[in-house]
């Protein structure tokens, strides 16, 4: 027991040190690398809190995709000399004051937590069996709070639309400006040939296992996105133009099927996003499969960035 406490204390200490390092680092690159390390360590914290689903998401999103997005942003900033502009003292003072206020508020909230927090977990777990799912997290995502999950996926699409809207007029409908390393015989090409079969299997397994064990559409989709990005960066496949039909179809197939199942709930069950009893699990798995694909394509295209070149 005491070893656990020591480990947790050490973990928390390292986490705070890395966070401080990320804030005070000189260059944006060092800062970002530390931020990604922070995400990975945070995942270990979630495992210690027995929240394996959250840990997987944190690794995939916090450590992986967000890091890649920020690295792309940083390299763009360097190219525009935008990073040379330092924020003025008043702005930094205001930002610091805001951070301190938020930290104090969070601290107060943590201290004000009741000894026995009010929870719906027992009721949620009791009724989980009727959905056919074994993983309570998947149950919350697709049964109890299905509307939130649906809107979350739509928000992802909106984010992609936001990124695309940064394109210049003449590049609209063209190819995203992902940096590709088009050197033949590069070792990256080898990696992009060897890793995807493994990665795609892992991605599909994560979605499939998500019904009964930690995992799910988001984590699986992120792994698929990583594999596709790897293939595109090694230039084994070109980055598709954003007005390609199959790209658009893959982007919307997940939310569309989920929405359709939700609407069918009016007919075959009693309300929107309600599943007919006996068929709940197959419907959820179908929705999750489609969502996994859509999430993968959306995340990869988010990283690929706004279209920059016209289709050749």
């Amino acid at each position: 027991m005491t070893y656990d406490v020591l480990f947790d204390l050490g973990l928390a200490g390292v986490l705070i040190a890395i966070a401080a390092g990320a804030i005070f680092a000189r260059g944006s690159f060092v800062s970002l690398v530390l931020f990604m390390v922070y995400g990975l360590l945070l995942a270990i914290v979630w495992v210690r809190l027995s929240a394996v689903d959250v840990a997987l998401t944190e690794t995939a999103i916090g450590g992986g995709v967000t890091g890649m997005l920020l690295l792309g942003a940083a390299s763009r900033l360097r190219a525009t000399k935008g990073s040379a502009v330092k924020a003025g003292f008043p702005a930094r003072l205001a930002a610091g004051a805001l951070c301190i206020l938020v930290s104090i508020a969070l601290g107060i909230v943590v201290y004000a937590l009741p000894e026995v927090p009010p929870t719906l977990a027992p009721i949620a777990k009791e009724n989980l069996a009727s959905s056919g799912l074994g993983n309570p997290v998947a149950g919350v995502l697709f049964v109890y709070r299905a509307l939130d999950t649906l809107l979350e996926k739509v928000v992802l699409l909106l984010a992609l639309a936001g990124v695309w809207s940064l394109a210049q007029d003449q590049a609209w409908g063209g190819m995203p400006g992902l940096r590709v390393y088009a050197k033949p015989n590069s070792i990256l090409v080898f990696l992009a040939q060897v890793l995807p079969p493994v990665g795609i299997t892992v991605g599909i397994y994560m979605f499939w296992a998500g019904a009964n064990r930690p995992g799910g559409a988001f984590q699986g989709g992120t792994v698929l996105a990583a594999m596709w990005l790897l293939v595109m960066m090694a230039r084994l496949r070109e980055v598709p133009a954003i007005d390609t039909l199959w790209v658009r179809q893959l982007l919307v197939v997940g939310p569309a099927i989920f929405l359709l199942i939700g609407l069918l709930g009016f007919v075959f069950a009693d309300s929107f996003l309600a599943y007919p009893p006996d068929h709940a699990k197959p419907l959820i798995v179908i929705a999750e499969a489609a969502l996994t694909l859509s999430i993968g394509v959306t995340l990869a295209l988010l990283v690929a960035g706004p279209p920059e070149r016209m289709r050749q």
């Binding site: 070792i187 990256l188 080898f190 990696l191 890793l195």
Partner: protein
């Protein structure tokens, strides 16, 4: 028997940790990028290898052991390739430190 296996695990994992320590010290103290990469490869190969080797008898069944081994293989693969890529990038930019 259980005791002997536990001793084996402790010895192997501890030796793995030694390699992790040495690799980290090398990463921090070595003068240029290529020697730092050299230090890192020791962590990937021997450090993680010894830890996985030590944990194998503790794994839950054959499937658990295979999972551990595949983690090691995947880290080997990505570690080796990423070091190559970093080394290539250093050579291209002409910066050796």
């Amino acid at each position: 028997m259980k005791f002997a296996i536990d001793i084996f695990t402790v010895v192997m994992v501890s030796s793995g940790v030694v390699f992790f320590m040495a690799g980290t010290v090398g990463l921090l103290r070595f003068p240029d990028t290529l020697t730092r990469l050299h230090a890192l490869t020791k962590v990937d190969n021997l450090g993680l290898g010894l830890i996985v080797f030590g944990l194998l008898p503790q794994a839950q069944g054959l499937l658990g052991a295979l999972k551990l081994l595949s983690i090691w293989v995947l880290v080997q693969l990505s570690g080796a390739i990423v070091s190559q890529l970093i080394a290539q990038a250093t050579q291209r930019s002409g910066r050796q430190t």
